[in-house]
Symmetry: D3
Subunit: 158 residues, 6 copies
Amino acid sequence: MSGLTHVDESGAARMVDVSAKDVGARTARASGRVLLSPEAVAILRAGDVPKGDALGVARIAGIMGAKRTPDLIPLCHPIALHGVKVDLTVVDEGVEIAATVKTADRTGVEMEALTAVSVAALALIDMVKAVDPAAVITGVRVEEKVGGKTGHWTRPHE
Amino acid sequence: MSGLTHVDESGAARMVDVSAKDVGARTARASGRVLLSPEAVAILRAGDVPKGDALGVARIAGIMGAKRTPDLIPLCHPIALHGVKVDLTVVDEGVEIAATVKTADRTGVEMEALTAVSVAALALIDMVKAVDPAAVITGVRVEEKVGGKTGHWTRPHE
Amino acid sequence: MSGLTHVDESGAARMVDVSAKDVGARTARASGRVLLSPEAVAILRAGDVPKGDALGVARIAGIMGAKRTPDLIPLCHPIALHGVKVDLTVVDEGVEIAATVKTADRTGVEMEALTAVSVAALALIDMVKAVDPAAVITGVRVEEKVGGKTGHWTRPHE
Amino acid sequence: MSGLTHVDESGAARMVDVSAKDVGARTARASGRVLLSPEAVAILRAGDVPKGDALGVARIAGIMGAKRTPDLIPLCHPIALHGVKVDLTVVDEGVEIAATVKTADRTGVEMEALTAVSVAALALIDMVKAVDPAAVITGVRVEEKVGGKTGHWTRPHE
Amino acid sequence: MSGLTHVDESGAARMVDVSAKDVGARTARASGRVLLSPEAVAILRAGDVPKGDALGVARIAGIMGAKRTPDLIPLCHPIALHGVKVDLTVVDEGVEIAATVKTADRTGVEMEALTAVSVAALALIDMVKAVDPAAVITGVRVEEKVGGKTGHWTRPHE
Amino acid sequence: MSGLTHVDESGAARMVDVSAKDVGARTARASGRVLLSPEAVAILRAGDVPKGDALGVARIAGIMGAKRTPDLIPLCHPIALHGVKVDLTVVDEGVEIAATVKTADRTGVEMEALTAVSVAALALIDMVKAVDPAAVITGVRVEEKVGGKTGHWTRPHE
């Protein structure tokens, strides 16, 4: 047994059968950050409209990205999403991104939360790449997972 | 002037007009890595079929992800892609991902290369999340950009 | 409180959490019309095959458009659709479009019905734009909504 | 000859062959409006963040909608888009929407401009439908078309 | 009565209302084959990596294709998929493809199974078309259907 | 050298770099058929509206399917399509499908033509499956390819 649930005993990829899993409320939280130059941070922090739109575009991209997860991740199940929230916070080193995704379905939504963070990060880089071509996405990870057979998982302290 | 090319003078987002830009060969290289537990690395390193498929699924996801870039990134131009290559290498800490994207069009393809890396990383996490729920995507960034008005850009040494 | 359910207290957009909403049968009816030149109406009214196909293409586009609603409307929930019906009627001023969408899920389907009407209207214009470049889409609106917490809503007489 | 370019002599739909058409700069402008209740207009006019986000979400939806045009309109050619701009202006009766789309390809972009306006309108309605379930999309139409064999077309005064 | 469930009494296409259908476990199995030249079969049979990847790419394409069914088939309902399995076997005449799709929803999943087989076959042809431009997809058909009002259907012996 | 252009020397899948290929007019013709029961053929042959819509829906699905080719086939390049034509002819054994796709780009369009035929066939089966659950797609193949480095290829007589 390889431990990889998405491949069968012969090693072939499959979308694993979740028919027997319970339908139930599930939540996943993920986070990540985009490291930016001081110049890019200053532009995002400036109190005028562009700031709103740059972060706003990334937020919308993250929410829409969560909905595209089964299109992007080959073996992800297409499931209903009941709520998606993406928060972006400008900090000294760049922008912190947090996403929370909820469902009441047969699979967890950690891939949806990770995808929301990743796509928001990509969209943010697209907004600032003319002033900072060296932006870096870092620390994209699941923080917490509630519901399902594995119950409540919280990222262990490092 | 905010320096953000994707917002106009009033701060509203737009897909910037590239009609006046030259059509020409452009290449972008991006990289990133997925940090994994020793157990997950061992599974990926095991010489049997699942390894092939786990990395293979991520590779395909990355290539297809590059093609979905304008669907995911709100202000990205839909452009032709002439070549996409995604490499995954298992290392002690996890998996290193590198993507190269080529086009001959009016915009650069660094967003496509970053998207290829990000989607490959997400797909890889999806493959191993049952054995390693704490995987982290890190260091997703443009390494090199060739072509276009800005010419040849290489990530500066840190 | 702004009254806008899709933005939180800080004004940030989100896909609102509907976990607590009841699953139940819901129906929405929307309508709209495309104003056309007499020449375009005459072509659509002519008793030969093209008429069938022009209206048929628009009908199919409307049904498929309803399915794409969560891809198009950033904060719409992806939900199951149980039935979609799009009717097009040629009248003296152009074409009247009516759409009915049904589901048994946690959100209403008025956006799906409005999207079906809009996409059918766009597809119809695409079919006739060579003979009538001045076509206008008008009066796209929800007519009736059944089910959900707000119960039965019918458009008030004007 | 029916005059419908998208159907052949037997009436069957087709994506018309544009191989022989010139590649050249083309622009299309379209407009439309969403009629809203005074309450909804007041919320959009209030000087706080939600306003920005409500209009911002619609603007992004319109830009992304333009890119999805060939997915939505069955016989539309998939083409490169060089620029998309969507403007929303709050007026006493609701919101005015204007879209400008540019390309240098073999087909006009009026369908892309109309789709941008329609999807922005739908997204706006989604944002305000909790306070105004009776919103109406009206007057969606091409205003001006530049480039291509038919040259410069401007909507005639009514 | 025409017997075509997807058209109403006037002959117009519609997505049929399945609200009254039971939610229940449903499975569909479909199969098909791609006829290839001996040279292409030999390459696929060679024991090195390309074989793995050629079949692996087709397998992934089939699984992802199953998820795109409602995007491709105009009147198909968008439904949850609980499991998708695609098997490819190299035989003397080419490659045999089998797909199994499971759901617990209101409609059968035979279209999803047929789409999985067809897209896997197309992706396989794309992989080998440089060495065999004459490949043929043949015998794509439902083998078995379990669940739903019609109960258990098995393809009759010919 | 394996002869598989879509895998590199190590066997990894890639979207092959076509930058060096010439842009030029290219056409591909593909065909296929759906084998149906006499009852299903009789319904399609009946002279009333349903027939038109059943074939019309399949035709539209085929045209739209051609546009989705790069979304479905992992290593296909996203390219401009200049024309797509899908013909369906009812014959005694079922329905014959022929598709012609044109472009002026760097890659051939045989995958687009094969996809158009396959998706039209799937959509047709969806229309008739209530009366004929045993329909079979057969003989999907490229008939002719014009343009590109390989020049004019016609399927050899069998």
